[in-house]
């Protein structure tokens, strides 16, 4: 047992060894690869194709970004990813709010059965559906279109589930008083339920934005022309043309363009994202 004097030497040593060193180590293991990505994105081929490692780039040179953006249409990828993410996430969050409200506050005969169907859908991985969905969407003419990328992912079991669980915790009294005042479902939804549920909706929205932005397997399959590719797929295209060893700096510049936007969003709003992604863990 350690001594009870807070600033004794033994105590300080123990705090550093037991508390700080593991934390610093864990943080470094995460950050060093990402730091290496950023540093390398500024390096010229001569600084990378060398036997003695140069840690810092000779200058902050944006040449790699330039090459990455002219080898493949990165600006187009960026635009496509932004459209897919914003449109997809907006519709998904909207659908989740509407469905969750209906499941909790509107009387309907088969609500429990419908909820079970949503729960099961939550467990069906999108990966096993790619071939049938490819055939369906390609048959509808959705190959190499943005709507073809967005459409199959729009149904949202995750958002519906999460918001339903939250709506169930709202006190019935606030809705009853609104009902007596003559407010219909639509007004009750937007004037009462949504305003008091902003944190939960933000959680769903952020998790949806992150997963839409990172989504890879579906856009990879449904696009084969650069005009409609999203960033992760475009990065694969860049890898195919620069993956010969001399292009690492260019590839790292590409990786920065894909990773940093989400890193910034995460840094600013990590509380909601972590809460949403680890939902259901502490059920007791």
């Amino acid at each position: 047992m350690s001594t009870h004097r807070p600033f004794s030497r033994a105590n300080i040593v123990q705090t550093i060894a037991g508390g700080y060193i593991p934390l610093i180590l864990a943080t470094l293991v995460v950050f060093l690869p990402l730091l290496w990505m950023i540093l390398s994105s500024f390096k010229q081929p001569g600084e990378i194709i060398t036997m003695d490692l140069k840690i810092l780039p000779e200058s902050v040179n944006l040449e790699n970004y330039n090459i990455a953006m002219t080898t493949v249409p990165f600006a187009q990828f960026f635009l496509n990813s932004t459209i897919v993410t914003l449109v997809g996430a907006t519709i998904k969050v909207l659908l989740a709010i509407l469905t969750a409200y209906a499941l909790v506050f509107v009387r309907f005969p088969f609500k429990n059965a419908i909820f079970v169907l949503i729960l099961v859908a939550l467990m069906v991985p999108p990966q096993v559906s790619i071939l049938p969905n490819y055939i369906l969407i390609a048959g509808m003419g959705g190959k190499n279109t943005l709507w073809g990328i967005i459409l199959p992912g729009l149904g949202t079991a995750f958002g519906t589930f999460l918001l339903r669980q939250h709506f169930m915790t709202l006190p019935a009294s606030i809705l009853e008083s609104a009902e007596i005042d003559g407010a219909g479902h639509w007004r009750r939804l937007w004037r009462i339920v949504v305003p008091v549920s902003v944190p939960s909706i933000a959680t769903v929205a952020l998790v949806t934005v992150v997963s839409e932005w990172n989504d890879y397997i579906w856009p990879l399959i449904i696009t084969d022309r650069p005009e409609t590719m999203t960033l992760p797929v475009g990065l694969t295209l860049l890898q195919n043309s620069e993956g010969n060893g001399s292009g690492w700096g260019i590839l790292m510049a590409g990786a920065v363009l894909v990773i940093v936007p989400i890193l910034v969003v995460f840094a600013a709003l990590q509380r909601y994202i972590v809460a949403g992604l680890t939902q259901g863990s502490v059920t007791g």
């Binding site: 950050f31 290496w36 469905t99 949503i118």
Partner: protein, 316 residues
């Protein structure tokens, strides 16, 4: 549907007291019925068409000898399954899937628990460290895969440089099938252990403080307290993590696609299904049968989870 949607008060009145006692289809209830459909139907239809319908279609496609893009297909019954399970591929693919899943699940849970213990200490900076450790989990697998591919590069990667400093040659991480599996597993664990750490941390923080303090007053030291108190009390968390990480490991795609595009030593079930349909062969029917096998495995795990959750792996 047995319940009448049309408003026929006369009929209800004639039907006797049984129906009159519960006026199911009063004007308001009827309005609610349509409000519900208007609010929920778009989402339910989307889930039906793009989540449930594919499951059925996959089973149908798996019975076909069919080249993707070809207009004709022949029904071959279970031939695709027979071909898969009797080929040398099956043992390799199932073996790779098992190794990848077990090592990534075990690795990220053990390391995640260790990091959670560090994060649970009462020093400053744990909030920042928690976010930092979680960060890789939300990053694009494609971007992360490229960064690590550069680190592992046998010629110009950092790892090769460190090994040269120690007088060693860098192993051929990419060309050697066994090492490429090791490489993908390392990166996968790096990307996902933050999830386990944060979930375990939440579990640790919800442990009953009075019990833990009583144990420490009884003179149980840190390690014994951890083994005999924390580990059993964390069993619900461990079980939750076991299921969720196993399901996501079985679906891992992004890193494998970026780091080993040819599936050289890293062809898990999901990757083999992708390669067969969208790689060089366009064997749609065969690919569908592999997807069905994968889905069956995922289903079994999910059902196990539901059964256990009902019984609750719990002590309190």
């Amino acid at each position: 549907m047995t319940r009448q949607l049309t408003d026929r008060p006369a009929a209800v009145a004639e039907a006797g007291p049984a129906l009159r006692r519960r006026p199911k289809w009063s004007g308001r209830t009827r309005r609610d019925f349509f409000v519900f459909l208007a609010l929920a139907l778009p989402n339910l239809v989307l889930i039906g068409v793009f989540t449930y319908l594919p499951l059925i279609n996959n089973i149908y496609y798996s019975t076909l000898d069919w080249t993707l893009g070809s207009a004709s297909a022949t029904v071959v019954g279970l031939d695709n399954y027979v071909t898969f399970f009797t080929s040398a591929d099956a043992a390799k693919v199932l073996g790779t899937t098992a190794v990848f899943t077990l090592v990534t699940v075990g690795g990220s849970m053990v390391l995640g628990l260790l990091i959670a213990l560090a994060l649970n200490s009462k020093v400053r900076g744990t909030t920042f460290a928690r976010s930092a450790v979680f960060a890789p989990y939300v990053l694009s697998g494609v971007g992360v895969g490229l960064v690590w591919l550069f680190i592992f590069d046998p010629g110009y990667g950092v790892l090769a440089w460190v090994l040269r400093g120690l007088g060693q040659q860098s192993p051929q991480w990419i060309n050697d099938p066994q090492l490429s599996l090791v490489m993908v597993i390392i990166v996968y664990v790096w990307k996902n252990l933050g999830y386990c750490a944060v979930v375990y941390l939440a579990g640790l923080q919800s442990l009953p403080q009075d019990v833990m303090e009583a144990a420490s007053l009884d003179g149980a030291d840190g390690f014994r307290r951890f083994l005999s108190m924390s580990v059993p009390l964390l069993s619900p968390t461990t079980f939750f993590l076991l299921i969720t990480t196993m399901l996501s490991s079985l679906q891992a795609f992004d890193l494998i696609r970026i780091m080993t595009p040819l599936g050289n030593g890293t062809s898990t079930l999901i990757y083999e299904a992708y390669l067969q349909a969208f790689g060089a062969f366009n064997r749609a029917g065969y690919s569908a049968s592999i997807s069905v096998v994968l889905f069956a495995i995922l289903l079994i795990i999910t059902v196990l989870q539901l059964r256990f959750v009902e019984r609750k792996v719990h002590y309190s």
